[in-house]
Point group: C2
Chain length 190, copies 2
């Protein structure tokens, strides 16, 4: 998606550890009009008529996933990362390793909200190692729901997370795949 790539090139910053910071428009300050257009791009790739649930993970994925669910007229479900007081029993859980927080994190949804009849499109703003998305695919499988695909805003292609899902035959579509950040220059996969 050219508009997204242009925003990454003009506003993105490369931090130590190949962290790509896009907080000015995607995951801290959020350009919701851009998110609306990103949702439309996903709609060109995926057959949205098959999808009856958008699944994401807190926190920053919620903004993009909200716009997708709104545009497509389906509910959004966001997985939570830690047990809090207002979650009852009846959870579907998966353990992932969080590279951001450098520890294992449990991702969970209430089993009432993810069922065998759900046809799920997973949406997230960012994919690097793919642990968060792997956790979400675990939840879908454990619930007996059907995974229709995975839509990602920005994929860090050089970390291999996305290609793991491609090799597994999952329909994963990223609007911008960053191939390298060498010498401070962002290069996209064609």
């Amino acid at each position: 998606m050219d508009e997204l790539k242009t925003r990454i090139l003009t506003e993105g910053k490369i931090l130590p550890g190949s962290i790509i910071k896009v907080g000015s428009f995607l995951n801290h300050r959020v350009d919701t009009a851009l998110l609306g257009r990103m949702a439309e791009e996903f709609g060109k790739h995926f057959d949205i008529s098959k999808v009856n649930l958008v699944l994401t993970i807190e926190a920053s994925g919620i903004a993009l996933a909200t716009m997708c669910a709104y545009k497509w007229g389906v509910p959004l479900l966001f997985a939570k990362k830690a047990k809090s007081d207002n979650i009852e029993n009846g959870l579907i859980c998966s353990e992932i390793y969080s590279y951001t927080y450098k520890k294992n994190v449990t991702v969970m949804v209430e089993s009432d909200y993810l069922k065998p009849g759900n046809h799920v499109l997973i949406i997230d703003d960012f994919l690097a190692n793919g642990e968060a998305i792997r956790g979400l695919t675990d939840l879908v499988r454990e619930a007996g729901a059907t995974l229709e695909g995975i839509g990602i805003g920005i994929e860090k292609g050089f970390q291999g997370g996305g290609d793991k899902f491609r090799k597994a035959g999952i329909d994963i579509y990223s609007l911008a795949v960053i191939e390298s950040t060498e010498n401070g220059t962002i290069k996209f996969r064609d």
Copy 2:
């Protein structure tokens, strides 16, 4: 907002400790069409033409705030709750007590994204003791920005958080104010 009150009465559950669970449509599984109509309700109360930034706090507030920012054509900024790797220096911070997690939590935004020229409408899905919202108002004040008001989905009126802001002369507007949950019955403030 009658539609929201009806959803609370038909789908809400009261858990021990007067926790009101609305995870089926507001803050776990999310009805984004309802959120769009909630944004329109806020638009009837506040003068949105004055607002150039929507501010919320992760995680569940992001969905409603995204819909508001999208409908109003302004950016969204969501405060983060803990320092993570992809936040550089230059933070505006406030410490709050989280009743959910039973500990102090630092809420923060990058100072680049909250400036004196910003006219801010704070949006959150839920208000109970008001600590999270107090933290957000601290950030607005510390940044030298202007607070235009606070829009809340569901306010637990009996916990007093909202009335603290009203007494301070802040324009706070909640779409549903729950006055009591005695005997398992939800009563709304008129």
